[in-house]
C-alpha cells in the first residue's frame, strides 16, 4: 500500500477527482434537503432564516415511527445473525450444487419485488390472529429481505479464507466443533459479519417496498411516515423529517465502520 500511495501521478488525481464527483452527486442533495429542513421558508431561501421549528414538529408528530423503525431494525439484526451466520457456515463448508441452490433460494426475496412478497404474506398470514396488526408482521418481511445480505457477506469472507485448513488445524489440536466455531471460524469472518450487520440495520431502517403494504395505521415505520410527509405536507417538514432520518443513521454507520476498521488488523 505504501509504495502505491507514494506514486501519485496524473492517474491518482484523475481518479480522486472522479471519486469526489461521485461523492458530490451523493452528498449535495443531502445537504440541500438538510438545509431545507432548517430553513424557515424554502421558497424564499436561506435569507428567511434558520429554524428548528420543522424538526420539532416532526419529532412531536412522528416519534412513534422512529422508535418502531429502530425496534424492528435491531430485532431483525438479531434474527439474521442467529439464522444467517450458521447457515452461511453450512453453505461454505459444503460448496457445490446444493449450496448454490440454497443460496439462490435465499436470494429470492431480493429478486422478487417487495410488493410481491408483501402481497404473498398478506394473502397467507393476514388472517392469522393479530399478526396483521402487529409489528412482527413487518419484522417477518424485513428478515426475509435482509437475510440474504447477511448470508452473502459472511459467505464472501468464508470463501476467501481457507476455512477447511484452519479448522483441520484446530481439530488436529483437539478443538471440538463449538470451540472451533467460536474461536476460529467466527473471529476469521468478523469483517463479513460486521459488513452484514451494517447492511441489515441500514436496509431494515430504510425498507419501504415491503413495508408500504405490510404496515397498518398503528405500525407506521419511518419510511412510511416519510412517504406520507412528502405527499401531503410542506417541503420543509419533509426535509426536516429526512434530516431526522439522516441524524439517526449516521452514528450507527460511523460506529459500524469504525468497528470494521478496528477488527481488520488483528485478524
Amino acid at each position: 500500500m505504501q509504495s502505491l500511495s507514494n506514486r501519485r501521478g496524473w492517474g491518482f488525481w484523475l481518479q480522486l477527482g472522479f471519486t469526489l464527483l461521485v461523492c458530490a452527486l451523493l452528498t449535495v442533495p443531502m445537504v440541500m434537503s438538510m438545509l431545507a429542513g432548517l430553513t424557515a421558508n424554502y421558497f424564499v431561501g436561506l435569507k428567511s432564516g434558520l429554524t428548528l421549528r420543522w424538526v420539532d414538529e416532526v419529532l412531536r408528530v412522528y416519534s412513534g415511527t422512529i422508535l418502531l423503525s429502530l425496534q424492528i431494525a435491531f430485532a431483525c439484526l438479531a434474527c439474521t445473525l442467529l439464522l444467517g451466520v450458521p447457515a452461511a457456515y453450512a453453505l461454505a463448508r459444503r460448496p457445490g450444487r446444493f449450496a448454490r441452490m440454497v443460496e439462490e433460494m435465499l436470494m429470492m426475496p431480493v429478486a422478487i419485488p417487495g410488493l410481491a412478497t408483501a402481497l404473498a404474506l398478506i394473502v397467507t398470514y393476514g388472517g392469522v390472529g393479530d399478526l396483521r396488526s402487529s409489528w412482527l408482521f413487518i419484522l417477518i418481511g424485513h428478515v426475509l429481505f435482509t437475510l440474504p445480505f447477511m448470508v452473502r457477506a459472511v459467505l464472501a469472507v468464508m470463501g476467501a479464507i481457507d476455512l477447511t485448513t484452519l479448522e483441520e488445524g484446530a481439530a488436529s489440536l483437539g478443538a471440538g466443533f463449538l470451540r472451533r466455531f467460536f474461536t476460529v471460524v467466527l473471529p476469521n469472518c468478523r469483517s463479513g459479519i460486521l459488513a452484514g450487520s451494517l447492511m441489515v440495520l441500514t436496509l431494515s431502517v430504510g425498507e419501504f417496498n415491503l413495508t408500504w403494504l405490510l404496515h397498518t395505521p398503528l405500525t407506521k415505520t419511518l419510511p412510511v411516515g416519510l412517504a406520507d410527509s412528502y405527499a401531503s405536507l410542506r417541503i420543509e417538514i419533509g426535509s426536516a423529517y429526512t434530516l431526522v432520518f439522516f441524524v439517526m443513521i449516521v452514528p450507527s454507520l460511523i460506529l459500524l465502520q469504525g468497528l470494521a476498521k478496528r477488527g481488520r488488523p488483528s485478524v
Binding site: R100, E104, M107, I112, T117, L178, N209, A227, F245
Partner: protein
C-alpha cells in the same frame, strides 16, 4: 417471528464425537442442523406464501393461461420492456462508476479517506422514497440542476418526474452498495500478484485489465445482478417521483390498490420475480465458474 429465537442454532451434537477422529463423520448432520433454522423460517414465511400467490394468479376464470394473457396486454408488455431497459442501463453505469471509485479507495490512502468512504456508502440506508426526494432536490422544479441551467442557458432543465429521474435515482441508490462490494473484494486481493505483474514490466492499465479486473469479476457480476434485481423490483422512488412512470412495480401497485385486481397484481409480481430471479441465477452460475477457474 419467535421461530428465529426458539430455533437458535446451538449444535451440541459434534462435541459428542469420539476424540479419536476429527469428527468429519458427523459433519453432514451438523451442517444440516445449522442450516435448518434459516430454512424453516424461509419455507414458512416465503415459499409457502409465494406458492399461495402463484395459485391466486391462476385462480381467475382464465386459469393458468392468465400468466400469458396478462403479459400480452400491451400496457403491461410496454411497462415490462421499459423496466428491463432501465434496469440494464442503471446496472452498467453503476458498475463502471463504482469500480473506478471503489478500486481507487482501496488502493490509496490519503487524508480524508475515511470520511470519503463514509460519505460514499452513506446513501446505502436510504429508502426509495428518500432517493426520490434526493432526485427532486437535484433535478426537480426547485432543484440544483434547474437553477444552474437557468443561470447558464436561460432554460430550466427539469427531469426528476420522468424515466430519466428514475434512472438517476436508481444509480444513486446502487452506487454505495456496489462500491462496498468492490472494496470488500479488492481488499481480499493478493498484492503479490500485482507486484509480480508490475515487476515483470506490465503497464498500470495492463495490471488493472489482466490482474485486478479478472479477480474482481465474480464480485462485479453478483453486485451487478443485485443492482439489476433491485432496479426491477423497487418502487419507492417511482412512488415519490410520479405515479405515472411506466415501470412494472408501479403497474403492479396500481393494479392492486386502485383496481383491486389482486389476481393481475399477483400474476405480474410472479412474472417479474421469475425474470429477475433467472437473471440472478444466470449471473451466479457465471460467477461460480469463474471462481472455480481462478482457484
Amino acid at each position: 417471528m419467535s421461530a428465529c429465537v426458539q430455533d437458535a442454532p446451538l449444535p451440541h451434537r459434534p462435541a459428542a464425537r469420539p476424540p479419536a477422529g476429527p469428527g468429519w463423520m458427523g459433519e453432514p448432520l451438523r451442517l444440516a442442523a445449522l442450516l435448518a433454522p434459516a430454512a424453516a423460517v424461509f419455507a414458512a414465511f416465503f415459499l409457502l406464501p409465494l406458492v399461495r400467490l402463484i395459485l391466486i394468479g391462476a385462480g381467475g376464470a382464465e386459469g393458468w393461461s392468465a400468466y400469458v394473457t396478462t403479459l400480452a396486454d400491451p400496457g403491461h408488455f410496454d411497462s415490462l420492456i421499459s423496466t428491463l431497459a432501465l434496469s440494464a442501463g442503471v446496472t452498467l453505469v453503476t458498475l463502471a462508476v463504482s469500480t473506478v471509485a471503489g478500486l481507487f479507495l482501496v488502493r490509496h490512502r490519503f487524508p480524508g479517506h475515511a470520511l470519503l468512504v463514509a460519505l460514499l456508502t452513506f446513501p446505502l440506508a436510504f429508502p426509495g422514497v428518500v432517493i426520490g426526494f434526493m432526485v427532486i432536490m437535484l433535478a426537480g422544479r426547485q432543484g440544483l440542476i434547474g437553477t444552474i441551467t437557468q443561470a447558464l442557458t436561460g432554460g430550466k432543465l427539469v427531469f426528476a418526474y420522468s424515466m430519466a429521474g428514475l434512472f438517476l435515482g436508481y444509480v444513486y441508490f446502487s452506487i454505495p452498495r456496489v462500491i462496498l462490494t468492490v472494496m470488500a473484494a479488492a481488499e481480499k486481493l493478493d498484492p503479490r500478484l500485482e507486484e509480480a505483474a508490475r515487476s515483470l514490466g506490465a503497464a498500470p492499465w495492463r495490471v488493472v485489465a489482466d490482474v485486478i479486473l479478472p479477480a474482481l469479476k465474480p464480485a462485479l457480476i453478483s453486485a451487478g445482478a443485485l443492482c439489476f434485481a433491485t432496479s426491477m423490483g423497487a418502487f419507492g422512488t417511482a412512488f415519490t417521483l410520479a405515479t405515472r412512470i411506466n415501470v412494472l412495480p408501479m403497474t403492479i401497485y396500481t393494479e392492486f390498490t386502485l383496481q383491486a385486481n389482486i389476481a393481475a397484481a399477483a400474476t405480474l409480481s410472479v412474472l417479474l420475480g421469475v425474470i429477475t430471479w433467472a437473471a440472478l441465477a444466470v449471473a451466479r452460475s457465471v460467477a461460480g465458474t469463474s471462481v472455480a477457474a481462478a482457484g
